[in-house]
């Protein structure tokens, strides 16, 4: 991917994709893996900036949900009312989309939502690192959802789960063709699920960086400052909406696993 040396070709001084480079937090650029030169110093268990910001997201979730609600006041404090709002929001989403039976899996969906929302929001702090902009992170989240939902579907319905692919309402001649299409679309789910989140976040951050480049001419055109502010506001919105979309799609997949019959 992009390297740190730019500017000598007369383009941007910084590259918009440089913010996504994973660096080790401790130690230099030595390579722990293979013996030859040219490594980035990131091995399988290296503590990188990605690890750090993911950990920070978890700390924030714990601070909000455990410390923030520890007083259990009748009149909630600010942190407690945020925690209650988030809880009620996700609870209602699971109940609406996945139904009453889906509520059993509410803790998992709540965890997903809070982690993604905090990872997205922490990534919006200038000079921070956005963990959800990396496919490695979102693919793990999406694969976990995919495996959970598939296993759950087979445990709950047995072989009846396969009726998800056998559209009973379609004409008999069409059903085998539809089954192939349904099967493909089922296995594409984790791909689109993860790429949607990472792609949106990555694209948004790259755009912010490009607009930050325009802010270098703020003395000539003050409008560029307004532009980056507007872009940042849009990104705050997108961060939340993408977390919401990831969560609600998880609920939809959960509903499919619980009620595979069309």
């Amino acid at each position: 991917m992009a390297t740190e040396t730019h500017g000598d070709e007369g383009g941007l001084v910084f590259h918009p994709m440089d913010q996504f480079i994973i660096k080790p937090l401790f130690g230099g650029g030595a390579l722990p893996g293979d013996g030859s030169g040219g490594g980035t110093g990131v091995g399988l268990f290296t503590i990188t900036n990605s690890t750090f910001w993911m950990f920070l997201a978890i700390v924030c979730v714990v601070l909000l949900m455990v410390v923030g609600t520890s007083k259990r006041a009748i009149v909630p404090s600010r942190s407690q009312s945020i925690a209650e709002l988030a809880y009620g929001f996700v609870y209602k989403m699971v109940e609406d989309v996945a139904g009453k039976e889906g509520l059993k899996y509410f803790p998992y969906i709540m965890t997903l939502f809070l982690f993604i929302v905090f990872a997205n929001f922490l990534g919006l702090i200038p000079t921070s690192f956005t963990t959800t902009s990396h496919f490695a992170v979102t693919v793990v989240l999406a694969m976990a959802v995919f495996l959970t939902v598939t296993i759950l579907g087979f445990v709950k319905n047995g072989a009846g789960f396969l009726s998800l692919f056998w559209v009973a309402s379609a004409p008999l001649a069409l059903r085998p063709i539809l089954a192939v299409i349904e099967l493909i679309s089922y296995f594409v789910r984790p791909v689109s699920h993860s790429i949607r989140l990472a792609g949106n976040v990555m694209a948004g951050h790259a755009v912010i960086k490009v607009f930050a480049g325009f802010a270098a001419i703020a003395a000539i055109s003050p409008l560029s400052v307004v532009a980056i502010t507007a872009m940042y506001g849009l990104e705050v919105l997108v961060s939340f909406i993408q977390a919401y979309v990831f969560t609600i799609l998880t609920c939809v997949y959960l509903k499919d696993a619980l009620h595979p019959h069309h």
Partner: protein
């Protein structure tokens, strides 16, 4: 030469972003048209709206991904 062609391909793949913009606009516009006709039913359909927008947008993100691959991975 190959690298330059890849850059042209990346630019062509960016057309997909515009196509996704049309799709998202269609979803949101039709939702608004329906919501103004029957405002009482609109609130219950916002989840469907966001799912529709997400599906339309995902394909634009795929186009963005293709252009990223052409820029940095090919």
């Amino acid at each position: 030469m190959e690298g330059e062609l890849a850059h042209i391909g990346a630019g062509l793949a960016a057309i997909g972003s515009g196509a996704a913009a049309i799709g998202v606009g269609n979803v949101a516009g039709n939702f608004l048209a329906g919501a103004l006709r029957n405002p009482s039913a609109a609130a219950s359909q916002t989840a469907t709206l966001f799912i529709g927008i997400a599906f339309a947008e995902a394909l634009g993100i795929f186009a963005f991904l293709v252009s990223l691959l052409l820029m940095f991975a090919v």
